[in-house]
């Protein structure tokens, strides 16, 4: 199971940039189709909000690849370890 957790990490690392590419591509095409303030604001908000989430997905994948999820902390002593 731990091996699967690690290998899937690659998938999560790739998923972040792929999602952002698809989002920006769709945003650009929708704004070009209907260049109104509503459309720009709407897609602008989508991109701004999802960008940090995609970065979070990459970090999640990186942690998974490094085996950080092989063992989950069970008390605050473990959580406080740096």
């Amino acid at each position: 199971m731990n091996a699967l957790k690690k290998y899937l990490g690659v998938l999560w690392i790739l998923l972040g940039p792929i999602a952002v590419y698809y989002l920006i591509k769709t945003a650009a095409s929708e704004i070009a189709k209907k260049p109104e303030i509503d459309t720009k604001i709407q897609w602008g908000v989508f991109v701004v909000v999802f960008l940090p989430i995609a970065i979070g997905m990459v970090i999640f994948g990186y942690y998974a690849l490094k085996g950080e999820y092989a063992h989950l902390p069970e008390n605050s002593k473990e959580t406080n370890e740096r």
Partner: protein, 513 residues
């Protein structure tokens, strides 16, 4: 303290937390439910600045400000305590809701009106971001380990009951302003929409009174007395790898999928039934009201069950059921709203009702004319309208004849209720155990901050965007009315895989750390 005193105490804690959270959800939802009327009052169509403010009010409050509120109030909750923080969120929410009901319309004070409404809406989003984490943490920190899922599930019912309350109040007020229904609706659209906002101040007042009598969470009091409270909860929550990895796991393995299942079941379903199936305003809302009423007890059932079998698999199975049946259920909605057999009677209106909507940045207009009411053999009545385009030069391009405001027969109506009930049942599976799951993931000193952010990104961003993205997809892929479902299906599927592979099913026996 004997067991019955302790038991009485926990129910006071649950009641105080739940009532306040329910009211906050009510406040948040009435704005959304009355969005069309609010837009008419404050955001005049055709004006680009007003359109900008309107879009910001709709998007910013739900998607940007809620996670920001989670950070602001989560940090406060971990520094000064749970009780005073969620009292503050309640005051902000109640005050802004009441104030929205007082703001004069655009016609009276011009651009100050939409600007004030935008600020108040942002305050609502901020308060909501801080409320839930506090209430869930407060109840969980009072609960015994073997009943944490059961007790916190009462908090989980509040979001759905808040929606129920907002829909109920709006329908009652809309029907009560005059004995003639059409006049009552006209009055509601004119000024009566303010009443649900004003009502909030009474509800919030009662809730503040109850919450003021409550004591601080025992776990927070303990770590405070021992001098162990966090100095910088934000840094500890997101700056340290050991905790950040749990925040990311909570988001991508639980709350992201839970958010889309929730918003698909309760919001997109209602929107789909009303705007795609064209079921009438009242029926589309009462269908949801009945479904919520029947399904709400299951939040407690699944929360309680999670104390016995663990939180993880109940949530994962809820997501699995949702992604594998969404297409079937929404396809049934379409089939149920098709014309049911032969038209037995056609009633033409004495004076045709004509509505004209100007298109933005165009001199063409869309004109909707009521042609007839078609009565079917099973008792359903569909309104037939002509959708024509009035060109700038005055010529009219005749459009198609379509059915609108469908009032379905009793049997079909209850089939709709049953299908929406199934969707809300999925919501109860993914949402019932999640408060206990999140609380157990983080230590007391940074619990409020750490659990609030993934919850509000999962629900505010992934969930809150569901109706918009789903509707948007139907405008891109116009030939497939079910194309909007791909967004919740893909998000829930990714979340389900992450949750199944990475999350532990272990119930934390001790959250006193």
């Amino acid at each position: 303290m004997n067991q019955s005193t302790a038991s009485k105490g926990i129910w006071k804690v649950i009641a105080a937390s739940s009532v306040g959270t329910l009211i906050e959800w009510y406040d948040f939802y009435i704005f959304g439910s009355l969005a069309t009327i609010i837009a008419q009052q404050f955001f005049p169509s055709g004006n680009p600045t007003a359109a900008l403010l309107s879009t910001l009010a709709t998007f910013a409050a739900g998607f940007i400000v809620r996670p920001f509120g989670a950070l602001v109030f989560g940090r406060l909750g971990d520094l000064i305590g749970r009780k005073y923080t969620f009292l503050l969120t309640l005051v902000i929410m109640g005050g802004s809701t009441f104030a929205i009901g007082l703001v004069p319309g655009y016609a009276s004070i011009g651009f100050a009106a939409p600007l004030i409404v935008l600020v108040l809406r942002l305050l609502q989003g901020l308060a909501l971001g801080g409320e839930y984490g506090g209430a869930a943490t407060y109840v969980a920190e009072h609960s015994p380990p073997d009943k944490r899922g059961y007790y916190t599930s009462w908090i989980q019912t509040t979001a759905t009951l808040g929606l129920f309350l907002s829909l109920g109040v709006i329908l009652i007020v809309r029907h009560s302003l005059h004995s003639d229904l059409n006049e009552s609706i006209r009055r509601f659209d004119d000024w009566g929409w303010r009443i649900p906002f004003w009502l909030s101040i009474v509800l919030v007042g009662v809730s503040i009174y109850i919450r003021l009598k409550m004591k601080e969470s025992p776990l927070f009091s303990k770590i405070k007395a021992e001098g162990k409270i966090s100095v910088n909860p934000l840094k500890e929550s997101f700056g340290h790898k050991m905790n950040l990895k749990m925040v990311l796991l909570a988001l991508f393995g639980a709350t992201m999928g839970q958010g889309v299942v929730w918003y698909t079941g309760q919001f997109y379903a209602q929107s789909f039934v009303e705007t795609v199936c064209r079921i009438s305003f009242d029926q589309s809302r009462t269908i949801l009201i009945w479904a919520i009423l029947f399904a709400t007890p299951f939040f407690v059932v699944f929360g309680s069950w999670s104390d016995k079998v663990g939180r993880k698999w109940i949530m994962i199975i809820g997501m699995l059921l949702a992604i594998s049946t969404y297409h079937i259920i929404f396809d049934q909605f379409l089939k149920l709203s098709e014309p049911p057999g032969q038209v037995t009677r056609v009633v033409e209106p004495e004076v045709p009702e004509i509505t004209t909507i100007a298109r933005a940045k165009s001199s063409d207009s869309i004109r909707t004319t009521t042609k007839a009411f078609h009565h079917f053999e099973n008792g359903s009545v569909y309104k037939q309208v002509a959708i024509d385009t009035v060109k700038a030069d005055g010529t009219i391009k005749a459009g198609p004849l379509l059915y609108r405001d469908k009032v379905v027969d009793t049997g079909t109506y209850w089939k709709f209720v049953a299908l929406v009930f199934v969707l809300v049942l999925y919501v109860t599976m993914v949402y019932g155990p999640i408060a206990a799951f999140l609380v157990e993931l983080f230590p007391t000193r940074i619990r409020y901050t750490s659990m609030s952010l993934p919850y509000h990104i999962g629900n505010g961003v992934f969930g809150g965007l569901t109706p918009f993205i789903a509707t948007l997809m139907t405008t891109i892929y116009v030939n497939d009315k079910l194309s909007g479902l791909w967004y919740p299906i893909v998000v829930a599927a990714v979340c389900m895989i992450i949750g199944a592979v990475y999350i532990s099913n272990r119930i934390d026996p001790d959250v006193n750390d």
